[in-house]
Amino acid sequence: MHKIGVFVCWCGSNIAATVDVKAVAEAASKEPCVVYATDYQYMCSESGQNLIIDAIKEHNLTGVVICSCSPRMHETTFRKAAQKAGLNPYMVEIANIREQCSWIHKDMAEATAKAIVLARAAIAKVQLNKPLIAGESEVTKRCLVIGGGIAGIQTALDVAEAGFPVDIVEKKPTIGGKMAQLDKTFPTLDCAACILTPRMVEAGAHENITLHTYSEVEEVSGFVGNFTVKIRKKARKVKMDLCTGCGLCTEKCPMKKQPNEFNMGLDKRGAIYIPFAQAVPKVPVIDVEACLKFKTGKCGICSKVCTAGAIDYEQQDEIIEQKYGAIVLATGFDQIKPTKFGELGYSQYPDVVTSLEYERLMNAAGPTKGHLLRPSDGKPPKEIVFVQCVGSRGQSCRDKSYCSKVCCMYTAKHAILTKDHYPDTNIHVFYIDERTPGKNFDEFYRRAVEQYGVDYIKGQVGKVYEENGKLMVQGSDLLANEQITLAADMVVLAAAIEPDKTARSLGTMLTASMDTNDFFTEAHAKLRPVESPTAGVFLSGMCQGPKDIPETVSQAGAAAVKVIGLLTKDKLLGNPCVAHSDEMLCNGCSQCARVCPYGAITYVDKEFRVPGPKRVETRRVAVVNEAVCQGCGACTVTCPSTAMDLKGFSNRQIMSEVDAICK
């Protein structure tokens, strides 16, 4: 016979204002097995927890029901309290009378009645709870970082510095990511490459860091502390160990008509190429789609000129398998191509460019060697119109609903840099709101206006059209309540940023949940911002949401700390709410294994005593690997004999809740 204690929390007035907590405690005290019921202002407070601990000891409670906020908030708190009092932590059940009762109901009588039912269901369930002991699993002391941009590099460096081996998987031939493409950084205007490349080199050279560039994650299995990942190392067709990075092959390649991704397609590269001068590793890669050797079988110039003999046309993709304890997602972002905004003429006019393209046009290593020349005729532009919020903050199908966060600042940066280099240029910026909430951000923007005389126009551009060789930009000036048309030489669109396209498939592989925009969701928006809800998976950088470089770097560091915290542990306590097969009921039919997403179920032949002349028979029965099982319960429903059940959410427990609710 159980002895159950029921503790009803007021949550200050959060619960008590709508639910008659005394009445709930009173009603609970009449339920079978309940020997103690009380209410208190804040059960989660130290004195509240002590109240529970004392009651467990005093009344020899075997089960505890807390009527409070969502178990997602304080289940762990109360379990720990029970444990302090010597009670198994899994003998605690929570009735959610805040989020699912007091906060959504206004009528006190109705809310109280519902709270009583919810309490009753928890009381009914806890009577069937069994003490559970979490299993332990070893932690593989190795970290995988997916994405080799500044976020991934920073996380990897931090984790590696702490002494743990880290692998970076980067799908491009080099690490560096988007930051490598940037010219200067706001608001300090230091050169992106100058601050990034040392870190890239450091990562490339670090004894604890292994780079898998031009590689992709193929398959992920396992769980926190014990992930097994298959990585596809795409064939570069260049032997990394032999190549000296001299670049001769790239110069001699006859197929120099390929759009150069690094320069946003504004210039060309060869079929064998090194993305940019400071690439890490500085090893070229053959673009087999473009290579004459692969298309026709002829050529082979690169191989001939390579003195190191590093060119290997036969090289095949390689799959490597590695175990990791933690995985960091640092998949970064992309800028949308504003092709859907026909009125802005991006697809039509070469001199309408995105800000990232403009970034390359400004950059000394860019297609124009740092001279600001417009793409159409290579002339320096005199009138430049910047348009902000292109594809951000919208609700139509061509828009992203969120603010891309960095556009206001980089547009100001572009304006300042342009004015700095070419003071005779006229710059106009169409903005909706100017968002500068960062250290020295607003000052930076004000400099653009006050010091550089950039013309900020509150309003949006309605259309861009060509007239007499000029781009006519028609928009509204809301403050003047006028419609204006500006004649420009160039139009720069601050197109929205979006998560990298590969993130979704990675999310599915890792069961890391994503929001509707394909940004990874964090375990808790406030309190666990760098962890994915999937244990052992951490988030770094833009893949979680728009952010600038310092934010990215600090998040990357935070993710690293979480990883280090995990990898420092030798063993992890598992979730004891896992499936369990009753071998006396199991038919060995294999239906459960067919639906198990983790391959946690295996079968053994086991001898059983049976009536009859033979006395013993061998039966095939299911065995659950508790370290691998994640407790989803798919197997339990497939099992027709109910041999397979889920600890903590057993058939009987759930049915007892149903019974209590439908009473």
């Binding site: 009921l585 038919n587 039919c589 294999s590 067919r594 095939r620 004999s641 058939n651 049915m655």
Partner: protein, 320 residues
């Protein structure tokens, strides 16, 4: 029949098999009981004719646990059940020798009796004629009119798992009925009509468990309805809900696994058309998840342990 006896005798004599699972003639000219024969007992009473309707596959669960090898006579429609038992590791295939036997559809005694014949003393099958002698007089029936319902919608006449099979080109010479016609007729009714139909049928249920115990798929070591720990065990339909519950759960447990052998309806002492529940699931799964016949092979995933990302939402039910 003679060919079968010869083959069985040969395999028994040359030691390929130790026992034979087949049908045994009974007291009347139509009652057939599954039975095991061995060298010692001889094949006396072994019979294979139009009344051998029982599905023998389920007996193999126990038979294949015994020492030695058992030969089983396997009709086409029963072989699907055997494949399911193999797939679910319920039988030891190594200890079974499957002798496929032809089937030209089985004759239903209940249907003979339903013509009004009673006091039957003898039934003789001559070609397409069924000659019935009763204490009240003699009659000749057309074989086609008294075939088992399940044979009227026969899947096919192919034994899907066998070690050896005996072929025959004899057929019942009937035109097969549409297997889903009965289900469709029910679907065409209004919900209230359907409810009343099933109420009148399921309220007859006496919970004798014959449907469950005869089913080759219902092979649980312990059925949920016999297990007091499940919280749903019961021995009688004390409330009309329990009639629904038992049959929904039973149909659900075999959904995707049921081979539509029709034994459940045949053995029901109250003649509840239980196959219509199973067939509904089969129809739905075929329509929503692609055609699937349980027991065609021993490997394929059944529809409820598989999925596609593009599966219909449950709301598909409301929109029709």
């Amino acid at each position: 029949m003679q060919g079968i006896i010869e083959k069985v005798t040969e395999l028994l004599d040359n030691g390929t098999v130790d026992r034979v699972l087949a049908w045994k003639a009974g007291e009347f000219s139509y009652d057939r009981t599954p039975a095991v024969f061995d060298k010692e007992s001889g094949l006396y009473g072994l019979v294979y004719d139009s009344f051998c309707v029982n599905n023998l596959s389920k007996y193999l669960i126990e038979e294949s646990k015994k020492d030695g090898k058992v030969l089983v006579l396997m009709k086409p429609c029963d072989s699907y059940g055997l494949n399911m038992l193999i797939k679910e590791h319920r039988v030891d295939r190594e200890k079974i020798y499957v002798l496929g036997v032809p089937c030209k559809c089985k004759v239903s005694v209940d249907k003979i009796k339903a013509t009004g014949l009673t006091g039957i003393l003898d039934i003789v099958e001559e070609g397409n004629d069924i000659k019935v002698t009763t204490v009240y007089g003699d009659t000749t029936l057309d074989r086609k009119d008294v075939l088992c319902d399940k044979c009227m919608v026969c899947k096919d006449k192919v034994v899907v798992v066998y070690d050896e099979k005996i072929e025959s080109d004899e057929t019942a010479g009937i035109e097969k009925l549409d297997r889903m016609a009965e289900v469709e007729a029910l679907e065409a009714m209004t919900p209230d009509e359907r409810f009343n139909f099933w109420r009148s049928q399921l309220s007859k249920c006496i919970r004798c468990n014959a449907c469950r115990n005869v089913c080759p798929i219902c092979s649980c070591t312990k059925c949920v309805f016999d297990n007091d720990n499940t919280g749903i065990s019961s021995k009688a339909n004390v409330d009309s809900f329990e009639e629904n519950m038992f049959h929904i759960v039973r149909a659900y447990h075999v959904a995707g696994r049921c081979t539509d052998c029709g034994e459940c309806s045949r053995v029901c002492p109250q003649n509840i058309p239980l196959h219509l529940l199973n067939r509904k699931f089969i129809k739905e799964m075929n329509e929503l998840y692609g055609t699937y016949q349980a027991g065609t092979d021993a490997e394929a995933k059944d529809p409820l342990t598989a999925f596609t990302k593009e599966d219909a939402e449950p709301s598909v039910i409301y929109n029709r």
